[in-house]
Amino acid sequence: MPNHAELSAFICDTFSRHVEIEPEVLYGEDLSLAAIIKTSPKMTNSVDLMEAFARTANALRKTWGIRVRLPTLPLDTPVSRVLDIFLAEAAVAA
């Protein structure tokens, strides 16, 4: 199984790719979910954001066999908090 650092890097890379925002901006500025929707060139609303979460969760399952459930979060949640939730879910699932 991957360690914490490997999982974290995998989730960060995958999510960054799906929202099409550079990691330096996404995580460097710790964007909120509302800011991600606004900044991403491929997003219109929260449904697009959920789809990016779903794709990230699916990639986790496909690559590592880890199944996480998607969180329901307010739009002012920073991406670092989302990452923490994903990692916590993955740790439980693993």
Partner: protein, 314 residues
């Protein structure tokens, strides 16, 4: 007399009796166009027939209500219904505009999808008119009952037009909005003791179910065309029914602040008056709608999420 069909279009016409079958929603719109050769003129005729068959009078139904018999719960539910219904006009205006824009985008690329879009935009005029009945009947009842008037500034706020979204998502959201409204009105009818008020709530609930049927038919038409993906319908359904999702309305722990538009289900004010949510009934109707739109069966919240995630892929 010119009988050349190429130069005299009147020569192609022949007398025909009005349709004698009971008016109904065209459930298989994609097949009706592709296999049945159904034209937009014929579709508009079916829409008109059903609209006329379902018309009712606001003045008449209000006159059947004994205002003295209404409970505090009835009064609160009437007031909330009137305010919530204000948001339907911008919804219908948006559908009319979006459907026409999508129609023109698809013309030449997929003329069947273009026709479905135009049929949807055309029907939105009936939807708008029928929803006007709901808005006016409840707000006028509120006025007769001496309930707090909605300030103009709030009226205008509730008229804000929703932001555009992908068409299948938009239609699915409207399916769910109609389901929530229909079930809520059913609850209101069940709780009303006055026969006139009960009849009104039942009439409005029946209208909402009919609107749901139309939105399902257009959404199914888009999926049947292959131009729109089932995942979009599941995405919106999941958004509503997930834990803490929009289906729970004002009872959610937290509701997003928006300045773009008003979601009526986020602004119901019941105070101490209790109206059952009937969440399971709403979920069941959403599962059924997903089946009718996409052909995919689901029977739980978890299955909706699992199916949606499978459809999304990596």
């Amino acid at each position: 007399m010119n009988t050349d069909l190429r130069t005299d279009p009147l020569a192609t016409r022949h007398a025909r009796r009005p349709t004698s079958t009971k008016p109904a929603i065209l459930d298989e719109i994609h097949r009706a166009i592709t296999e049945g050769g159904c034209t937009l003129t014929e579709i508009a005729w079916e829409q008109q027939r059903l609209h006329e068959a379902r018309r009712w009078s606001v003045v008449e139904l209000i006159s059947n209500i004994d205002l003295e018999r209404l409970s505090e719960g009835d009064r609160v539910r009437i007031w909330n219904a009137g305010r919530a219904e204000l948001t339907t006009k911008p919804g219908a205006d948006r559908v009319a505009r979006l459907a026409d824009a999508e129609c023109r985008r698809w013309q030449g690329e997929d003329d069947v999808v273009a026709a479905i879009m135009q049929a949807c935009g055309t029907w939105s005029r009936y939807w708008n008119e029928e929803e006007a009945h709901h808005e006016v009947v409840f707000n006028q009842l509120s006025s007769f009952l001496g309930l707090p008037a909605i300030p103009d500034v709030e009226f205008i706020e509730y008229r804000k037009v929703f932001p555009d979204d992908e068409m299948l998502r938009t239609l699915t959201l409207l399916v769910i909005s109609e389901i929530v409204a229909a079930v809520n009105y059913g609850q209101c009818a069940m709780l009303a003791e006055d026969p006139g008020l009960r009849a009104l709530f039942k009439q409005v609930a029946a209208d909402e179910i009919q609107h749901m049927g139309y939105f399902i038919a257009f959404a199914k038409g888009l999926v049947d065309s292959g131009a729109y993906q089932a995942k979009e319908a599941f995405a919106v359904a999941h958004f509503f029914i997930r834990e803490g999702g929009d289906l729970y309305g004002v009872k959610r722990d937290r509701i997003e602040e928006r300045d773009t538009h008003v979601n009526w289900w986020d602004h119901l004010e019941h105070g101490d008056v209790s109206t059952p949510d009937a969440i399971e009934r709403k979920q069941t109707l959403i599962f059924s709608a997903l089946k009718r739109i996409t052909g995919i069966s689901v029977s739980s919240v978890e299955e909706v999420e699992d199916t949606w995630m499978d459809l999304v892929g990596c």
